[in-house]
Structures are given as C-alpha cells and as structure tokens.
Symmetry: C2
Subunit: 255 residues, 2 copies
C-alpha cells in the first residue's frame, strides 16, 4: 500500500447471504480488478448484516476515511432491502419518490398501473442524491456525496459500476508482476526482506501454496507479487531476485 | 439476524491480495458454513490491508463488539507477515519466542540449525497467548483472549479452524430452507412482507437472479431463503407462501 496519492475506495457489502455462507462473494474481486487499472485502489471491504444500525455505522465511518465508498446490495423491492433508508439516515435526509426513477420504472413495467408497492419502493431515493443508471433491471442506484449505492446481484452491480467510473478521479495505475518460486517461502524470506528494504516503492507480497510437484521438496511453492507504479523498478527488483535465487540454486519463473 | 442468543463471530481477513483483486476470498464462505451448524453465527467480515494500524484498529473494535474474532493471514515467515506483531500491540503485550512453537518448527525443519530468521519469526507469539495447532505447515496460530489468529492459505486455515472450534461456545443451529420462485421478486414482494410480519422469528431473505428460462417472463427468478431456529415455523411459513403463490398462479419449488 505505497500509492498514497492514488484515490482510494472502500466497499461495503450488505448481505446476510454472504455472512450465512450461502453465497460466495465475487463483487470484491470484480470491483478491485475493474478499478485497479484506473489507479483507483480498493483499501478496505466490510461485509455487514442487513441491519440498519450496522449499515449506517459502516457508511459514516468509511466515507470519512476513504475518498469513495461503494455499497452493494439491499436496493430491491422486498422487505429485506433497507439500504436506501439506511443511507438517508446516515446523511440525515429523507427518502422521496424520485420522478426520473419513477418514470423509468413505470415505462419498464408497462405503465404506472403496474407499479405495486415493491416497485415504487425502488423509486424512493435520499434527497439530494444523484441517480446511477441501472441498464439491466432499471431500478437505479444513486450517488450521495462520495458514496455510491449499487445493487448486489453481480451482473447488475457490474453494469452499474460502469456508471460510477465517470465520477471517480483517476490515479496512476499500479503494475503487478508475479514470480513463481518452486520452494517454500521460509527459505527465501531473507532474500525478500533485503529486496523490500532496497525497493521501498515496491510492495512485495509473498503467497505460499502447496501442490507444487516440481518444487524442491515436491510440495511447496511461493508466488512473489511485485506491485508498484514504477514498472522499471519492478523489473530491476525481479532481475536481482532471480539472480539471488540462482545463486541459491532455486528455480523461479515469471508468470 | 434474529438469533441474538447465539454466540457470534467476526472475521478479519488480512490480505492485500484480496484487495488487489488477485485472489478471490473463499475463507469467508468456509468459516460461515463450518460454524453455522454449531450455532455460531458470522456477523461481520472486514478485509483490511497489511498495515499495522488498520489491523490493530479492526481487532480492537471487533473483539469488543462480538463474542469471538478470527483473523486470517499474515503469520508466515516473510517481511509482509505482520499479524502477530499487530495483535501483540492491540493487546499491549510483547512478542516472545514460544518454546513449544520453537520445538515444533525445529523438529519439522529437521533440526534447530535449519531455523533461519523467517522460521524463527513464526515461533514468536504474543505473551499469554495459547497456541492453535497447525497440522499442515506446523507454524502455529494462537488464541489471545477471544481472538483467534490463523493462517490465510485456505487449506491451512481450514485445518486450524478445527482446533478453534473446541474453544467456542455452541448455540442453537439456524435452519435454512429455500424456495425457488419462477418470477421476479417485485411481483411477490407484498406476499413476502406480510409473511415476514406474521413470522418475526424467521429471517426471510429474497435473492433475485436472471437466466431463468422457465420463469413467467422467461428471464427472472427469485430464491426466497427462510432462516430460523424454529424449523416448524419455517415449514408453516413455506406452506402459506406456496398457497399464496398458487392463488397468484405463480410456480415455486422447494430446493
């Protein structure tokens, strides 16, 4: 986390279904991967229950700590969709029926007469919020100051995220290169520490794994991830690293 | 979240690799699914960066809020493994070389002479902590008051979690049953609200999805998840729900 001048973002996943283990969260990885090439760095994720007080507390803490906050989940038509109301309370404003959202949903559902209570609920947005268009299921998200409120279903969240991106300041993208080392990480920890000290503007991460049949001990391997805004520095560090490993007779491979 | 008498737990995932999008987090789903049948409820997850201050803040907040906290990641041999030091600071104690951990690693690596700096680092545990045995890669985790510190690699985390479970108070397991409804959720939102009001001891969650070719509109479907400690209540509610849908000529199926 060396890129402090880059805009940063926190993600709040509102979802009992993640906390119960029923659903595997894939939104974190998608948001991180989509924003990283823009130089926008995901710095924290919170998965909170569908409880108003928990949502309000997370939003109010994180919107002061990070440049941007994205929330996912809880903006649908059912009783358990409480995000819009919680965000309104977090900002101390009321919900109101947004005319554009109302018109869009009336059109989508084939006329105002088809807007039942649940569908009308999806048109109620906090005062002063700006709509975030939802091209998939139409019910919009919204932007409230530096907080972006999106749906939780991955397909819909992903489409809405494209309409968040124009609002974000861009940074200098962080490049990432990986070297796979065919040995356990404790053998090469010293080399990595020296390298990290020499290259403070590179974030060197060490990720061990097993099931590496062609490794030194037939089992352990390590992925070393070099991340920096300075690609030349990464290449220089990887060159030095490969040389040090070669002296130790340890194989490595750039991925 | 109706099961307030059950013991609850928060998970802190220490991992730049999750925040960068490089790695999909699977530990959340595993921990939730493994503990739910024991009546131990996952209530919050935080993914924080490998930054000491962030780890300390999350640990100190969550250990006061929840019955238990599990952390994953950052207890390996390399420079980026800073969890043990952060936990020691969170509790205001020092790290020391734990004799049992030292002996176990010396044995594992074929003698004390093979314990390099990185391996010795893995034997340094906060004062007063109790070891959590790691049957896979031997370097132990630990229990500090109500905080359990585990490795991040899923295979290792899962094995260590088995050694956490005996420390946890058990609750009454929450049963979960799912009804798949072949229509969009906004059509059935009203029925669900009534049902939720009638059965306050059931947590009724509504999870829409697309790609449902045999649904009413050829596209939208909804999974309704009924969760409660009272299985009979779930069955009664599902019976009523199916009857209401049948009157609306909407198909549903118990999963």
């Amino acid at each position: 986390m060396l890129y402090n001048q880059n805009p940063n973002i926190a993600l709040i996943i509102i979802g009992n279904e993640i906390l119960s283990g029923r659903t595997l969260d894939k939104n974190t990885q998608y948001v991180a991967s989509r924003l990283a090439p823009l130089g926008v760095e995901l710095r924290e994720v919170r998965v909170v229950a569908d409880i108003e007080g928990k949502i309000i507390a997370a939003v109010n803490e994180l919107r002061k700590t990070y440049d941007y906050v994205i929330t996912t989940g809880g903006i649908g038509p059912t009783h358990d969709d409480i995000t819009s109301a919680a965000i309104a309370k977090a900002f101390g404003v009321e919900l109101y029926r947004h005319p554009e959202a109302y018109a869009a949903l009336a059109k989508h559902y084939g006329g105002e007469e088809n807007l039942n209570h649940g569908r009308i609920k999806m048109t109620e947005i906090p005062e002063n919020a700006e709509l975030i268009v939802n091209p998939i299921s139409i019910a919009p998200g919204f932007k409230m100051d530096n907080v972006f409120v999106l749906a939780g279903v991955p397909e819909i969240m992903q489409a809405m995220l494209e309409n968040v991106i124009p609002h974000l300041r861009r940074g200098v993208p962080v490049k990432s290169k990986t070297v796979q080392v065919k040995t356990g990480e404790s053998i090469i920890a010293g080399v990595m520490t020296e390298l990290q000290n020499k290259y403070p503007n590179i974030d060197i991460g060490s990720y061990p794994y097993t099931n590496q049949p062609d490794s030194a001990d037939g089992r352990h391997g390590t992925n070393i991830v070099f991340r920096s805004q300075d690609e030349k520095a990464i290449d220089a560090a990887i060159g030095e690293f490969a040389e040090a490993l070669s002296k130790m007779k340890i194989n490595c491979e750039r991925k």
